[in-house]
Amino acid sequence: MNGYNFAYLDEQTKRMVRRALLKAVAIPGHQVPFGGREMPLPYGWGTGGIQVTASILGSGDVLKVIDQGADDTTNAVSIRRFFARTAGVATTTRTEEASVIQTRHRIPETKLREGQIIVYQVPLPEPLSRLEPSRAEAREMHALGDYGLMHVKLYEDISRLGQVSISFDYPVMVNGRYLMSPTPIPAFDNPKLDRSPALHLFGAGREKRIYAVPPYTEVRSLDFEDHPFRATRARHECALCGARTSYLDEIVTDDRGGRMFVCSDTDYCAGRREREAAE
């Protein structure tokens, strides 16, 4: 685009972001502060993810952008357009074809492979923020590996409700060292992070933090031996492709209790239907 650098950000800013990314990859799960810039999209709408994507994107990359698992949700459309306009890179909706995937709230159903990078938009990078609002305090707790507060929260849930009540943004331990927010993905997606062959990068624009899960890193959802981690999905199959293992959106079809369940990952769903039609 005229008047702007490739992928919007100037090269000094990209270098600063890449330095933070390298540090983040070197210390899996640790939040690295970075000099987040004001972006032409609002804070909370993916400015962190956009800065990370802008900093790693090359002209040969193929970009996929999803929000809620879908390529056609308004914010995903807006961000994909932003990069098509400012970087002129090829875009795709196919998970397998993408070299960089920017996402909000989901990890694709299709298994990610080596060499792929998935960039998460992060609203609140601090997993302890609901228990300890002061970032200065939380930082110290991370330094000391003092996560007792979070274990107590899970224990209280189990003793009061019989189970952990966190259904998304379910905290994980990365590489046995740092407690990390996997971003508001459903807990259903958490197991996909564990020993994933892809590189997972997390950008929080408003809070100005970057963190990462390098390929093949152990990512464990917090639990107890006698109360192992459980992920939930709707107990239905996809009304469009018949998938029984994918995460489903619940669509309200009328005002008399009518419901329809369909894959939240639109590319996965479309791919299954195409293959079925071909057979």
């Binding site: 949700t73 459309v77 807006s78 009540s165 408003r206 939930t232 995460y247 329809m260």
Partner: protein, 377 residues
């Protein structure tokens, strides 16, 4: 199928933007407003956008106000997103408000003082009565004897106007101006380049407040007056006017004037009982913002002083004294983004909440049913 309608899509976005443009333009029978008119006649709106947009440029701020339909936070956001793309070619010398071309200067602690009290263009002492002469394209020009002729220039322009804090400092009754005393080689923090970290020093705190939301700071400043972290303030001085901006290019070796900016400065003078190490003396709260923004500068000075509680050995009990709380929440661009992002789809997370609550209810019912059977037996 209904399912498709739930999703957004490119056409919906394009249509929404077209509608927005139409709404912004309003009734096409009326002439399109010129940005020059906004810059000239909506001065206080433009000033606020410059302050919170953190960029001193009246024309761009006026354009932002026009583009945002007068939504000042949206306008400040437009200006911020523009300023962040600008190259940094130099750091200016600290501006010298002592040498300000003063339009307005008042002190609430001395009846008269060198340079005098200059009321200047102020809403203070106006009666807040709607002036129907301004309705439509009405004007007060030539309204006659009721309006005193506006002075075209300040009569006492040439008189020296020392800052009130300097007068107090002459008697050693107020703490020193540590920023002025500090060696120049200590680099200033810059929030726009480095992330906020705690504890935050006063340079970074003042930068955050200067860019901060007027409404938020007003409420916090107000809270200190009502006992939530009281600072016993007096308005030492408020001054509004133009100051020169100087930079010193390394290849030149001397400072050159690159233009002037309009600023409002407020120096609050606050009671202080003294501590084990510091004798009783007045302390400072400082406010400075782009443009004419007295409410903002005053609120900033109150909050600045409140945030110095720890440094001055005062008990920290109120929100305005909590540096992390104030600095993390005073930026309205961050705040509006995060509050309004709740409009984005959250149906994946909501779905997981639905499933969790259904599962919990199923399990609660299953657990409750044997009890009921027992009770029936």
């Amino acid at each position: 199928m209904a399912y498709v309608a739930v999703k957004g899509g490119e056409r919906a976005i394009d249509a929404a933007h077209a509608w927005l443009a139409e709404e912004r333009r309003g009734d096409p029978c009326l002439p399109e407003i010129e940005t020059a008119q906004i810059a000239a006649q909506f001065g206080r709106a433009v000033d606020r956008v410059m302050a919170e947009g953190s960029c001193h440029d009246r024309e761009l701020a006026a354009l932002a106000v026009k583009q945002a339909q007068g939504d000042l936070i949206e306008a400040a956001f437009l200006l911020r997103a523009y300023r962040t793309t600008l190259p940094r070619f130099a750091a200016a010398h600290p501006i010298d408000t002592d040498a300000m071309q003063v339009r307005r200067r008042i002190s609430a602690i001395y009846k008269d003082l060198p340079g005098g009290q200059v009321l200047g263009p102020t809403y203070d002492y106006t009666h807040r009565l709607l002036d129907f002469r301004l309705a439509g394209t009405g004007s007060l020009a030539g309204a006659g004897s009721q309006e005193a002729a506006a002075p075209t220039s300040c009569a006492e322009e040439t008189a020296a106007m020392p800052r009130v804090t300097a007068i107090l400092a002459g008697e050693d009754l107020i703490e020193g101006d540590r920023a002025a005393d500090a060696p120049a080689e200590i680099p200033m923090g810059d929030l726009t380049r480095a992330p906020l970290a705690f504890p935050a020093e006063r340079d970074v705190r003042l930068q955050a407040l200067a860019r901060g939301d007027e409404g938020f700071l007003l409420a916090l400043g107000y809270s200190t007056q009502r006992g939530w972290g009281g600072t016993h303030p007096f308005v030492g001085e408020i001054r509004v006017g133009e100051v020169a901006v100087e930079i010193e290019p390394p290849e030149l070796g001397f400072a050159i004037d690159i233009g002037e900016i309009t600023v409002t400065e407020c120096q609050m003078v606050n009671q202080f009982k003294g501590s084990k190490t510091v004798p009783p003396q007045f302390t400072r709260g400082y406010g400075l913002c782009f443009g004419h923004g007295e409410r903002k500068a005053m609120a900033m000075a109150l909050v600045d002083r409140a945030m110095r509680a720890e440094e001055l050995g005062e008990e920290r009990t109120a929100p305005a004294q909590n540096v992390e709380f104030v600095l993390s929440h005073c930026d309205n661009i961050e705040a509006t983004g995060f509050v309004e992002h709740l409009k984005l789809p959250h149906y994946v997370d909501f779905q997981s909440e639905l499933e969790t609550i259904r599962r919990m209810r199923r399990e609660a019912e299953a657990a409750a049913s044997p009890d009921r059977r027992e009770a029936a037996e």
